[in-house]
């Protein structure tokens, strides 16, 4: 398969075009390092100004969407250590959190000294959603570029559950641990506007409601939330405007007692569903759903191209894929 000679995007990636040197349109549009550095400074300064001016009248300065993976663990530690934040860490348990990640979450929350909340949506509802996502593309094609359909559904629920809690508890910032490849710096400091959020929520809520019925609704914002527009928080992605160095991240979080799960795929450090989600996406669309993220990390110089290619080409763990299918009650032999 043809792959960009500079990054790792394959010829199967939506909308890709190569020039005579085999360089893709995304690499050709990539801005110089000086531009990225200046943008990072701009957004870091914006966040730090907002942080200094915050008026946290509730018990918490920020809510951390905490998956237990390496990036959100590092971000959680940064918030508590560098910014002295009173954090409420929230983990949404999709039924496939690695047991090692669960232990990591407990250990790290204690080591860092933050309050932590597990939210566990009904598994019968999630099961319907994930099984449907494995069968068909239910979201707009644009979403396919950044993640698998299963991941997009799961993350949408995580985002809206976190937003619900932030509005209810009057928490002024919701923080995510997206890598610079997952979230561009321009999305690193974002004020949630209620009308914009209402529209964005509809694009994911509607298809999920068609699949799972009204039982999905508790995991989305209700009118009672929209009735408190003054409580809508900022979304912050600190790793998009701070230095991102995987070796440094691992070194720091291991000091906190974090251990790398052995049962997840190479692109996840918390979720057992990922192997299956990636397998489905590769079968349906012909490329690894992590290609976009890793390609951007390669362009930014934070990931070696050969390492990225190796990560993307590593086959999924067949046994794990089988276990996930069994738990979801899916019988699709062609995906085995």
């Amino acid at each position: 398969m043809r792959v960009c000679t500079k990054c790792v995007l394959p010829e199967t990636f939506p909308g890709i075009e190569f020039d005579e040197n085999g360089v893709c349109n995304h690499c050709r549009a990539h801005k110089q390092a000086e531009y990225t550095a200046s943008r990072k400074t701009q957004y870091r300064e914006k966040f730090e100004r907002l942080w200094a001016e915050r008026q946290a009248s509730g018990a918490y300065d920020c809510l951390m969407s905490y998956s237990g993976g390496k990036d959100s663990t590092y971000t959680l530690d940064l918030l508590a250590r560098e910014y002295g934040a009173r954090v409420l860490a929230v983990t949404v348990d999709n039924g496939f959190v690695s047991p090692t990640a669960i232990e990591n979450i407990r250990r790290v929350a204690e080591a860092v000294g933050v309050a932590h909340l597990f939210v566990k949506p009904r598994f019968d509802v999630l099961k319907k959603v994930f099984a449907a996502c494995a069968e068909r593309q239910i979201f707009p094609p644009k979403t396919l570029e950044r993640a698998s359909t299963i991941c997009t559904a799961c993350m949408a629920m995580v985002k809206f559950i976190c937003l619900q809690i932030a509005v209810e508890k009057n928490i002024p910032f919701v923080v995510f641990g997206w890598s610079p490849g997952q979230a561009p710096v321009t999305s690193s400091v974002f004020k949630n506007n209620p009308e914009m959020i209402r529209k964005m929520q509809e694009t994911v809520r509607k298809p999920l409601e068609e699949i799972a019925g009204g039982e999905i609704l508790p995991y989305f914002l209700q009118e009672e939330h929209f009735a408190r527009p003054e409580r809508f928080p900022y979304n912050i992605n600190p790793l998009a405007f701070l230095e991102y160095d995987e070796a440094r991240i691992h070194a720091r979080i291991e000091q906190l007692g974090w251990k790398k799960p052995e049962d997840t795929d190479p692109n996840s450090t918390n979720c057992l569903l990922n192997s299956f989600a990636n397998t489905v996406h590769r079968k349906q669309f012909g490329y690894n759903p992590y290609a976009f993220e890793l390609a951007e990390l390669v362009r930014q110089g934070t990931l070696d191209r050969h390492d990225a290619l190796a990560r993307l080409s590593e086959p999924e763990d067949g046994e794990m894929v089988h276990l996930v299918k069994k738990r979801l009650g899916i019988e699709q032999p062609q995906l085995r």
Partner: protein, 82 residues
């Protein structure tokens, strides 16, 4: 705009179509449009201006950009009906 809005299969887009309803742009895409406008036109987009009324269709964007350009220092005031 092409990079943010189009790119997959050349789907039809009318100037009044909602980017979000049509699913051709997501939250990240909206913020990339914000950054693009700031760089291209040299004005700042305030947080409270990132609303569907300003950013959710080509028509809305055109009106918003015209308004912001008119507010920039050194820009001649537009005459009504001119």
């Amino acid at each position: 705009m092409e990079n943010f809005v189009f790119g997959l299969d050349g789907a039809e887009l009318n100037d009044s179509d909602s980017f979000l309803d049509k699913g051709i742009i997501d939250s990240t895409g909206v913020l990339e449009v914000v950054a693009f406008l700031e760089e291209t036109y040299g004005f700042s987009v305030a947080d409270e201006e990132v609303v569907p009324e300003n950013f959710d269709s080509v028509d809305n964007l055109v009106v918003y950009v015209e308004k912001k350009k008119a507010e920039m220092p050194g820009q001649p005031a537009r005459l009504m009906g001119a």
